[in-house]
């Protein structure tokens, strides 16, 4: 089956319906493996067991940014290629991405308290992630304010693409500015610099989070398609009723 078949909402719903149970099971399985590995990983000699917040904090940061990246691709789909499901994908991804970003901020804050002595500090990395979170909330507000989904889609698409500039800023903020936050240690030139006993659980958890995102996203897209169906049915009902021809 070609990718183009997914463009049809009905076919997408059918596929999603069949795929979702599998997706849930695989996600749960990978989470089980990842959480076990995280539990079994050695404590940090400085931070003790607190370092294990990293196994939730770092993947949620990655997924928060991944969400906006996905929305940006979907935005291009809406504006450039006019793909029928592009705005559904964008709208469905926003709350999920926002949730992961929020999780990143909260876990980071809880981690920072014992590490740096404060829940929050206005350094470049934290601030740019906070900005990302605020932009997510802004896009979600935009989707909710405009009643007609297809009109909201264009405005949201433009906003998303403009906001995508924040992603490289987040990534490189720890390098460009002198920050309290730890510099990059996984995705950088020369390969990761973390020891494998920490790296492997981290990557497994990242995979688990990614699968969770995909699962939730597919389910959310299905819901959005159904929501639009309901709206169309209501419009038809109004038009079919007496007195509607004016």
């Amino acid at each position: 089956m070609a990718l183009i078949d997914l463009a049809n909402p009905t076919r997408f719903l059918r596929l999603a319906h069949r795929a979702l149970p599998w997706l849930f099971e695989i996600t749960a399985a990978v989470f089980a493996v990842g959480l076990y590995l995280a539990y079994a990983a050695p404590d940090d000699y400085q931070q003790g067991a607190t370092v294990k917040i990293m196994f939730i904090h770092v993947p949620s940061a990655w997924l928060g940014m991944f969400g906006w990246g996905l929305m940006s691709v979907a935005a291009l789909g809406t504006l450039v290629w006019r793909h029928p499901l592009a705005d559904v994908a964008a709208k469905a991804a926003a709350p999920i991405g926002a949730a992961f970003t929020f999780l990143c901020l909260v876990t980071g804050s809880l981690w920072g308290r014992p590490m740096w002595g404060t829940y929050w500090v206005w350094d470049a990395r934290l601030t740019s992630v906070l900005i990302l979170f605020l932009m997510y909330l802004g896009v979600i507000a935009l989707w909710r304010t405009v009643e007609d989904p297809s009109r909201a889609a264009r405005a949201a698409a433009i906003l998303t693409l403009v906001g995508a500039i924040n992603l490289p800023i987040i990534k490189f903020s720890v390098d460009w500015w002198n920050t309290l936050h730890q510099p990059a240690s996984v995705i950088k030139l020369g390969g990761p610099s973390i020891y494998p006993t920490i790296l492997i659980p981290l990557l497994v958890m990242a995979l688990a989070f990614t699968l969770l995102f995909i699962t939730l996203h597919v389910a959310a897209m299905g819901n959005e398609i159904l929501r639009r169906r309901v709206r169309s049915l209501m419009l038809v009902q109004a038009q079919a009723a007496p007195g509607s021809s004016e």
Binding site: T118, V121, T127, L134, A141, T145
Partner: protein, 222 residues
């Protein structure tokens, strides 16, 4: 009385259904507050000292800017005409709309304050004090802003002109709100003194705001 309750419930419902309730007000509050450290710099000690002031300014702007369209929407679709023809006095109808606005916009601001206090490096007690002063003071902001909202319908003019006219009226509330917060955090003034004055200001603005707004709306109906 059930007509006032119906108006209150309608306005709360409308606020919830369009754009997600008080969400947009809280989001604005969040963004304005987050904007301050960019301008002031990340000095945490400084932010902690001026934190209450920043939070109060953010809440003030969020309250007033969302009030702008309170009456304009009803004026544009003809609802205001019908409200003037109801058996309920216009003053009470205006009060019901203001109450609905506070519940859906002002109260969420108060609830969001402890979280924002975290960003401003305010401790738990300090954040709580600021939240309490906002709880007492945001109704005052709503009722004063009501006058601006009514004038913008009467004058057929919105935006900054009205903000310019109404903002000076909110200065006493701002002064006592920040004074009460600082009194709770650093002293030496006891918290009670500015706080009770703040509450008095709210009660006065309740009465003045309602009558002034109703008068402005009637004037503008021609």
């Amino acid at each position: 009385m059930s007509s006032l309750l119906a108006l209150f419930i309608r306005d709360v419902r409308l606020a919830m259904r369009v754009g997600g309730g008080g969400g947009i007000g809280v989001l604005f509050f969040l963004i304005v507050t987050a904007l301050m450290p960019f301008a002031i710099g990340p000095d945490l000690a400084l932010l902690g000292r001026i934190g209450p002031a920043i939070l109060w300014l953010g809440a003030l702007l969020a309250s007033l800017l969302t009030l702008d369209r309170l009456f304009a929407v009803d004026h544009e679709d003809g609802s205001l005409d019908l409200m003037l023809m109801g058996e309920t006095p216009l003053e009470l109808a205006v009060a019901a709309k203001a109450a609905a606005h506070w519940i859906t916009t002002g109260l969420p601001l108060v609830i969001a304050t402890p979280l924002l206090g975290l960003f401003m490096n305010l401790g738990g007690q300090a954040s709580g004090a600021v939240a309490l002063t906002l709880l007492a003071g945001t109704p005052a902001l709503t009722f004063i802003g009501l006058i601006g909202a009514a004038l913008s319908v009467a004058l057929r003019r919105g935006g900054l002109l009205l903000a310019v006219l109404v903002l000076p009226l909110t200065v006493p509330v701002l002064i006592f709100g920040v004074a009460a917060s600082n009194a709770a955090i650093v002293g030496p003034l006891p918290f009670g003194t500015p706080f009770t004055i703040l509450c008095a200001l709210t009660l006065v603005s309740l009465v003045v705001g309602i009558f002034a707004a109703a008068a402005a709306l009637r004037q503008g109906m021609e």
